[in-house]
């Protein structure tokens, strides 16, 4: 029964994986992937000699950690409240509404953000000016951006993620709830002691899956929100945007393959550690 899936991944993932060698080659069309000459670690030089390697790597990881924590907490809270606290129609309506941001492309989100935050005519600053406060120059102040990006990312993923948790909650055995009620637990205790623990498998799985990608930045978000504003890079540049900008001058496949390989190796190491830690805690909850 596993055959179709195995075949699928061999074809679409494992065979193309051979292309990783491009990270170590100087690609030309005549040689193709396998005939092009090797050039050792040359393709990695642009990244590591740029002086920015540490900053962007750190940014990528930190942002992803923040995203994992904030997004999941918010989504779990929303899912629980949707399940427990609100009426049917309200739940259906608000679920649909919360899903809307998912459909808005990052290009449009970036445009809306610019409309809201820009210094001269942005909504935020217009309001501030109207009530007599000083305008804030958001687009030229790097320190605001970690907060902005985390919030925007949470906003966009809210509907999508809470659906996942909601489905998990509906699968929880209601007998446990009844038993708790009999024991005199109030609603909050029930949530803390039954609902959330029963969500652990789902939470762990989702977090583990996210950890594998901890060194990959969401290019769409960073590129469309921050753009090419150099002043903000110290706090917003991630590996993917950095590499993208470096490659606008030439479309060297080797360079982007090298960066991708770097991200893969780091992610692999991280997930091995994380998975191992989870296995020690409970074998069944680990990814593999």
């Amino acid at each position: 029964m596993l055959t179709p899936a195995v075949l699928f991944f061999i074809l679409f993932a494992y065979v193309p994986m051979a292309g990783i060698v491009l990270a170590f080659k100087q690609f030309n069309y005549g040689g193709g992937i396998f005939g092009s000459p090797w050039n050792g670690l040359d393709n990695f030089r642009f990244f590591f000699e740029s002086g920015n390697a540490w900053t962007v790597t750190r940014n990528t990881a930190l942002y992803n950690i923040a995203f994992i924590i904030v997004n999941n907490v918010l989504q779990i809270a929303a899912a629980i409240l949707l399940f427990e606290a609100v009426g049917k129609w309200f739940r259906k309506l608000s679920q649909t509404v919360m899903f809307l941001p998912y459909f808005i492309s990052w290009v449009v989100v970036g445009a809306i953000a610019y409309n809201l935050f820009n210094y001269d005519v942005g909504t935020l600053n217009s309001i501030l000016a109207a009530i007599g406060l000083e305008r804030i120059d958001i687009y030229n102040t790097p320190s605001y951006w970690p907060f902005i990006l985390v919030l925007v990312s949470a906003w966009k993923a809210l509907g999508y993620g809470s659906v996942m948790y909601l489905a998990a909650i509906t699968g929880i055995d209601t007998e446990m709830y009844e038993a708790a009620e009999i024991d005199g637990a109030n609603v909050f205790q029930r949530i803390i002691h039954i609902t959330i623990p029963n969500l652990y498998p789902t939470i762990i799985i989702l977090v583990l899956l996210a950890v594998g990608n901890i060194f990959r930045g969401d290019f769409g978000m960073f590129y469309n929100m921050v753009g090419n504003n150099g002043l903000l890079f110290s706090s917003t540049d991630v590996i993917d945007t950095f590499v993208f900008r470096s490659l606008t001058t030439s479309n060297e496949i080797g360079l982007s393959a090298a960066a991708g390989f770097f991200q893969s190796v780091l992610g692999f190491a991280t997930i091995l550690l994380a998975n191992y830690a989870v296995r020690k805690y409970d074998k069944d909850h680990a990814l593999f």
Binding site: I10, Y14, V15, A18, F27, N28, Y29, G30, G31, G32, I33, F34, G35, D42, R45, F46, E49, S50, G51, N52, G110, A111, Y114, N118, Y119, D120, D137, Y139, N140, G227, N228, N229, G230, L231, F233, F242, R245, S246, L247, T248, T249, S250, N251, E252, I253, L255
Partner: protein, 520 residues
């Protein structure tokens, strides 16, 4: 034990599968000769007499841009004529502007079936040639199959498009001057009784006056968000004004036009740049442009039409058509084209701005070259390819002009500029001012030895990438006045450039230039 065995079997199977499929792949690609050393013998599968071609061939073209709506009708006509003349027809595949960046190299990597490809220096012509994507065009090939082009194309154009001494593209034949100019609100200038804007000083005056007196309008606007590594005024105020030539817009290295030794220097490390920073700071202190200009995502011309901006920079052709457009739509708003460096030397556009190349794996190279020959030099075919069907997509005005019609938009927006040639028609509504400036510029075209020099960056790709990054990150905010202390900003910029390897870049460039000059 058994588990391990089966697992091993699975892995072995996978390995075998992978190797087999990859081997098939490498056979396919290895059979294509390394383009750089391709002998002209490839592609001689059909008789070689001009016009006497016995086999009808379909030539496939790879073009950039969206497929025009009336592609079928126009190309239908085009093919009729092509068939008559050289027994060939063309079929075009279009790579949309949105992602040609990704698709274009993929087409080559996958050795897809096409014969002619649009190419240009900004479309990584150099890179593609060195990677073996294009067929080498020897003099014999060109002379035999492109007699018209061979006669019409100036030698400089051929020289400029050579890579490592070999020819890989048929450049467009369009020696224009691509200096930039500024579009200003003439009515506002008159309102405040300002001098005509024809120099950096008068421009600064114009900008500061508008900023001080007209609320709700940006005196100047630009769109750095597009990723350009220079302030949009730099080409005028740095390159044109000082008569420098930037070797490559992705690096801050230039030489002085009349310096016979071709010594290159770091633009950011010059007294002229320091002065320019002061000039920009002065403008910024007077609120010439928005604080958030670096994130501006709005189209600047649209802003200008809507009255939100009072000036912007672009090439002469675009500004002229902007002028014509607003004259039609809002005649009460007066615009003018301001040339800030009217007396400086002008450089003709490098021929590799547009061109066509032959795919290295094409088997119909000779016929393809004939097609390009006609596209550039045969009046009927040129008109069809560039403008569409006379009467429908344009109205012919004499031999060299045209008027737009309602259907003009149905056949435009793609890269037919590879066929630019003296046969190009000019828009009849092109404003006279534009013509005047153009004529004046043509008088001042300066020819110099390094005109045909093109930089080969294979050995310094990493430095180029890092320098480019530094420019976006440190130079752009500095130039747009977002850094308070400009001296420190400039020092920082230079420091970062050194860390990124600008010295190595400069040495490599200089050695190539020296070798080039020595060989002359």
């Amino acid at each position: 034990m058994q588990n391990k065995k089966t697992l091993m079997l699975l892995f072995a199977l996978m390995l075998v599968l992978t190797t087999v499929i990859s081997a098939c792949g490498s056979n396919n690609t290895a059979s294509h000769n390394n383009g750089a050393s391709n002998a002209p013998a490839e592609g001689t599968t059909e008789p070689t007499t001009n016009g006497g071609n016995s086999e009808e061939l379909v030539i496939k073209m790879l073009l950039l841009g969206g497929k025009p709506i009336d592609y079928d009708t126009v190309f239908g006509e085009l093919n009729k004529k092509l068939k008559e003349k050289i027994n060939a027809t063309v079929q075009a595949e279009f790579l949309d502007w949105s992602d040609w960046n990704q698709k274009y190299p993929l087409k080559f990597a996958a050795s897809e079936d096409f014969d002619i490809a649009y190419t240009a220096n900004w479309a990584f012509y150099n890179d593609q040639a060195l990677k073996g994507g294009f067929l080498e065009l020897t003099d014999e090939l060109l002379q035999k199959n492109m007699p018209l082009t061979w006669k019409a194309m100036p030698t400089v154009a051929w020289e400029q498009s050579k890579v490592n001494g070999k020819q890989y593209m048929v450049p467009n034949n369009n020696p224009e001057v691509i200096d930039k100019a500024v579009l200003i609100r003439e009515d506002l200038r008159k309102k405040y009784n300002l001098d005509p804007v024809n120099s950096p000083e008068t421009f600064a005056n114009y900008v500061k006056t508008i900023a001080a007196n007209e609320k709700g309008i940006n005196a100047y606007s630009a769109k750095p968000a597009d990723g350009w590594k220079w302030h949009e005024l730099d080409q005028i105020l740095l390159e044109q004004k000082n008569e420098w030539n930037l070797v490559d817009y992705n690096m801050p290295l230039a030489y002085k036009l009349d310096d016979a030794s071709g010594k290159v220097f770091n633009i950011y490390d010059t007294p002229e740049f320091k002065e320019l920073l002061k000039y920009y700071k002065d403008l910024v202190d007077n609120h010439a442009w928005s604080k958030n200009i670096v994130n501006n995502k709005n189209d600047v011309w649209q802003d200008m039409k809507a009255g939100k901006t009072a000036s912007y920079v672009h090439n002469l052709g675009t500004l002229s058509s902007n002028l014509a457009e607003l004259r039609r739509e809002k005649p009460e708003v007066e615009l003018a084209i301001a040339d800030l460096t009217p007396d400086k030397k002008k450089i003709a556009a490098i021929s590799t701005q547009n061109g066509f190349a032959i795919h290295a794996t094409s088997k119909k190279a000779e016929r393809a070259l004939m097609v390009i020959d006609l596209l550039q030099n045969d009046k009927e075919i040129h008109d069809l390819f560039m403008y569409g069907i006379a009467g429908t997509h344009y109205e012919a005005v004499g031999d060299d002009k045209f008027n737009a019609t309602a259907s003009t938009a149905n056949f435009m927006g793609f890269s037919n500029w590879g066929a630019n040639s003296p046969l190009n028609r000019k828009d009849a509504s092109y404003p006279a001012e534009g013509d005047a400036i153009e004529a004046a510029w043509k008088q001042k075209v300066y020819n110099f030895d390094l005109e045909t020099f093109v930089f080969n960056d294979t050995k310094v790709k990493n430095e180029v990438a890092n320098v480019g990054n530094v420019m976006i990150r440190y130079a752009i905010p500095l130039e747009y006045g977002l850094i308070k202390d400009i001296d420190k900003g400039q020092a920082d910029l230079i420091k970062q450039l050194k860390a990124a390897g600008i010295d190595k870049l400069q040495t490599e460039l200089q050695s190539q230039i020296d070798a080039f000059l020595a060989s002359k």
